[in-house]
Amino acid sequence: MKDQHLVTLTVNGRAHELVVESRKTLADVLRQDLGLTGTHLGCEHGICGACTVLIDGEPARACLVFGVQADGREVRTVESLADGDELNDLQQAFSKHHGLQCGFCTPGFLMLAEAYLSTDPDPDREEVREVVSANLCRCTGYQGIVDAVCEVAQDRRRAGHA
């Protein structure tokens, strides 16, 4: 017998009621039950960060969280960032600075950076390198990712203080 639970979770602003097996990861719930396949699985050991989502605003590895643990929580995934076809500033900066190539790790970096930027940081480049070192990318060498996050941090501060 599978150990099934009824959970209620809000994902990208929409409430869902789901029957979830206790051992099913949040990543699999998002991908398989909700069809939100932007959250990618790169290692399933909680190291690479490709599956990073926000739970109640905090970044978390969706491969290390069970779906049942998200019961009653607010989850944000990469699918929440753009407004239709209109990319947000962070997404635009990633493209402008060539912060992605194959695109597989990109959703994790975006969500990691989104959480970091929500703290209204005033970072230098070294701090941003430190922050994004939480996740792994194999294509870019990270330069474009760091450039993008630095630029958005500055732009948002400028806009916030204007």
């Binding site: 599978k2 097996e21 051992r23 099913k24 991908r31 069809g35 939100l36 396949t37 932007g38 959250t39 990618h40 699985l41 790169g42 290692c43 399933e44 050991h45 190291i47 690479c48 490709a50 995934t77 990469v78 699918e79 960032l81 753009a82 076809d85 990319l87 997404q91 990633f94 493209s95 402008k96 060539h98 992605l100 190539q101 194959c102 695109g103 597989f104 790790c105 990109t106 959703p107 975006l110 941003v128 390198r129 430190e130 994004v132 070192s133 939480a134 996740n135 792994l136 990318c137 194999r138 294509c139 870019t140 060498g141 990270y142 330069q143 474009g144 990712i145 760091v146």
Partner: protein, 791 residues
């Protein structure tokens, strides 16, 4: 008139990836597909004595449990048509012997992945274990041999460019260097592990295999051969692919097993490996040893070079390229940018109880550059010649082109010396030399360089000399203009992060006088594209893009012909500019290309010469292969208290001919450099003496993060290539080729600079292996008194 080639056009691929709307294999919905989990050998060598799958069969959710016998013992055979090659079979599932820890033995099929993994644990496998051979040194005479067909463990043994006089020349050389260089076993490790979905579609009489691959047609051939199907009955689709770097340019046995199960069950079946499977059971690369003798005259000119090259290829020859890839590349191209008058090489591929190897970004070039640059640095130090000057004296100069090398290769023009000088100037401008010479903070710094070339875009003529049974090279592109004037191009190349949807569109747009937004590249589907070889070996933009450019030029001729009739002009007087066809010199006499397209489709009765109907063309490209070149430089800093290395800054001067999109070229260079730094300082797939993998997660296999990789400044030189329609040369691998040698050169410079008193013998050996660990540096710096201390 807008020209798109050379433009930093933003990537067409980005928006979908950034929205999380990329469509990778595991994102493709197949609600009722079964999931496979593999039971893998827990030991590196032995014979299976007992296999019991009955308990697993009875587990909840299990649909089937499949052994090699259930499939009829199929296997994959990679072959070189050479006498020096021993053909072996890689069974899809091991059935008698196991040859590496992680080798698949049983496939468990269940309703979901969780159930499949539970049941895999319940399969009983007894193995009569025998001692494993893991190293090159241990391979000779090891019993029992890994493969009965190769009693000495050597699967390929090549003597190339024999030279009766070379030993005499070397023995008499004023300076004879006898050196050994080694590189560790590493992993391409793209962020998306291997994954596939196989479904049988009755209507099309097809097995449809969706998977993360660089080479859809080669997978089709491998699956068709292994399962005994006509190739039309296998359709391979590569949707978005999350990186490859070579590990996905060969055919994985697991992928063929999943296809076989789907064909057998007539039901959808999928498999996705986790990172542990990927690190321990997918293809590895680069474990090599070079024993070299190199002679120099007093002025630093190289007189001759002899190399004995051994590649630890793991347990099997990977399909389709075989284990000959690394040895052949190494022996063929070792001399690099240098004028080596005498050369001989022996290159072997040695089987061991480790996972099989595949081509990994650069294929032996990272090692041969390490060897040649290491020899140059060492000879310079021994002869008291500046490191840059010894390179100037040996490098193929502009007036030497086309240069016929001792290895039989003709080198077409490059910018070898210009790149060296420009790179040196950039290090000076950046203030590196003053930084290196700082003595105020106790840190030890060094500057490394590597000047090298890489042959790219190998066509069939060149690949044919390797004598592979499957000889890649050409591409065929098709192009169609629809009634709205938009264009779809298809190519057998299969981009997976290189931005082909953008660069191919730039090439096509220039020839058709339309915006790249109106050009869509479709790739990665054996039913949609002509047969082609895929994306690897820095070939796609040159050969795939080159064939697309030819097709676009022919389509442009068709558009001009129709427009000429509509404008009552001569076709040779029609220019295609910014979406319009206009009469040269009379730009007001124009018609939009969309109107031309609509006329051809909907009102062809109004045209006189439309025997062909429609706007479609085909183009091919098959160059022999051309050399890109680059010079890399790195500034590194060693903490003598911990042995920790920081790469502070990095400069690349590269020449890949005509640059189609500088942003994309720079991205490829930077990503490659990161992988090269990784191989030099961080990554190694270590194994115990028993053949147990010691790196099973990213906690043990140290893919660098943003804090380990410095900013990389990229400077471009452009020596156009006359072999191709576009003038471009390949460039996907250069970053990872040059970086390991550059880092080693920098570490040796740091140690030499820190510990040596000029004019005295060194107290320790140069670093000539990859990776270099903090522990090694600590022991060297601890043992050798610093110059500051001794003076």
């Amino acid at each position: 008139m807008t020209r798109w080639v050379g433009n930093r056009l933003p990537r067409r691929e980005d928006a979908r990836m950034l929205r999380g709307a990329g469509r990778f294999t595991d994102d493709v919905a197949a609600p009722h597909a079964y999931h496979v989990a593999f039971v893998r050998s827990p030991v590196a060598a032995g014979t299976i004595t007992h296999l019991d799958v009955e308990e697993a069969r009875g587990m909840p959710g299990v649909v089937d449990v499949v052994t090699s016998a259930d499939l009829g013992h199929p296997g994959l055979v990679a072959a070189l048509e050479r006498e020096e090659f021993v053909e072996t079979t890689m069974p899809l599932l091991a059935h008698d012997r196991v040859r590496y820890a992680g080798e698949p033995i049983v496939a468990v099929v269940a309703e979901d992945r969780y159930a499949a993994e539970d049941a895999a644990d319940a399969v009983e496998v007894d193995i009569d274990e025998v001692p494993a051979v893991t190293s090159l040194a241990g391979a000779a005479g090891h019993l029992p041999p890994l493969h009965e067909e190769a009693p000495d463990g050597v699967l390929v043994d090549l003597e190339m460019f024999s030279d009766d006089l070379i030993d005499e020349v070397l023995d008499q050389a004023p300076l004879l260097l006898e050196e050994t260089f080694r590189s560790g076993r590493v992993h391409a490790s793209p962020m998306e592990p291997r994954t596939c979905l196989a479904e049988w579609v009755d209507r099309d009489e097809q097995l449809v295999l969706t998977l993360s691959t660089q080479v859809p047609h080669q997978v089709r051939t491998g699956v068709a051969q292994a399962l005994g199907l006509a190739e039309r009955k296998v359709r391979v689709i590569a949707p978005d692919v999350g990186g490859g770097f070579g590990v996905k340019c060969v055919v994985g046995r697991e992928e063929v097993v999943v296809a076989a199960i789907a064909a057998r069950m007539r039901h959808g079946v999928r498999w996705a490996e986790d990172r542990q499977e990927h690190l321990t059971a997918a293809f590895h690369g680069r474990e090599q040893e070079y024993v070299v003798r190199a002679g120099f005259d007093e002025d630093g000119h190289i007189l001759g070079l002899r190399a004995d090259i051994s590649c630890n290829i793991g347990a099997y020859s990977a399909y389709p390229f075989s284990c000959g890839v690394e040895p052949l590349m190494a022996a063929s191209e070792l001399p690099g940018v240098y004028k080596v008058p005498r050369y001989a090489a022996r290159a072997r591929g040695v089987a061991t109880n480790k996972p099989p190897t595949a081509p990994y970004r650069g294929v032996s070039r990272p090692q041969i550059v390490m060897v040649m640059e290491g020899l140059m640095d060492k000879a310079a130090a021994r002869l008291g010649i500046d490191r840059f000057e010894i390179r100037r004296r040996n490098t193929i100069a502009d007036e030497d082109f086309p240069y016929l090398g001792v290895n039989g290769i003709t080198y077409e023009p490059g910018s070898y010396l210009e790149a060296l000088e420009k790179c040196l100037a950039a290090t000076r401008a950046a203030g590196w030399w003053e930084q290196r010479d700082r003595t105020d903070d106790g840190l030890v710094r060094g500057i490394g360089i590597a000047n090298f070339n890489e042959r790219t875009a190998y066509g069939t003529a060149t690949m044919g000399m390797r004598k592979m049974q499957m000889t890649p090279g050409f591409e065929v592109a098709h192009i169609k203009m629809d009634a709205s004037g938009d264009v779809v191009v298809t190519s057998g190349t299969c981009g997976h992060g290189q931005g082909h949807e953008t660069t191919f569109a730039q090439l096509v747009a220039d020839r058709l006088g339309i915006s790249p937004d109106r050009v869509k590249l479709r790739q990665g589907d054996t039913d949609l594209t002509s047969f082609g070889w895929g994306t690897f070996g820095s070939r796609s933009l040159v050969i795939g893009g080159g064939s697309a450019a030819v097709a676009a030029r022919r389509l442009a001729d068709q558009v001009r012909e129709v427009a000429a009739e509509m404008l009552e002009a001569d076709p040779t007087d029609i220019d295609l500019v910014d979406g319009n066809a206009e009469v040269r010199g009379t730009p007001q006499a124009r018609i939009s290309i969309a109107e031309v397209a609509a006329t051809v489709h909907y009102r062809s009765h109004t045209l006189t010469h439309r025997e062909e109907h429609l706007l479609e063309a085909r183009g091919t490209a098959d160059p022999s292969g051309m050399f890109s070149n680059a010079c890399h430089a790195a500034l590194v800093e060693i903490d003598p208290g911990t042995g920790d290395v920081q790469v502070l800054d990095y400069i690349v001067v590269e020449d890949c001919g005509v640059v189609v999109n500088p942003t994309i070229v720079e991205g490829q260079v930077r990503g490659g450099v990161a992988q090269g730094i990784a191989a030099a300082l961080y990554e190694e797939l270590a194994y115990s003496a028993e053949g147990q993998p010691l790196a099973g997660t990213f906690m043990d296999y140290l893919v660098p993060t943003a804090t380990e990789i410095p900013p990389v400044a990229v400077h471009h030189l452009e020596t156009p290539c006359d072999q191709t329609e576009t003038g471009a040369k390949g460039m996907g691998e250069g970053g990872s080729i040059g970086a390991p040698a550059t880092i080693l050169s920098a570490l040796n410079d740091a140690l030499r600079h820190h510990t040596e008193t000029p004019g005295t013998e060194r107290q320790y050996a140069d670093l000539q292996h990859l990776p270099v660990t903090p522990a090694e540096l600590l022991s060297i710096l601890g043992a050798a008194p610093s110059r500051q201390e001794t003076t």
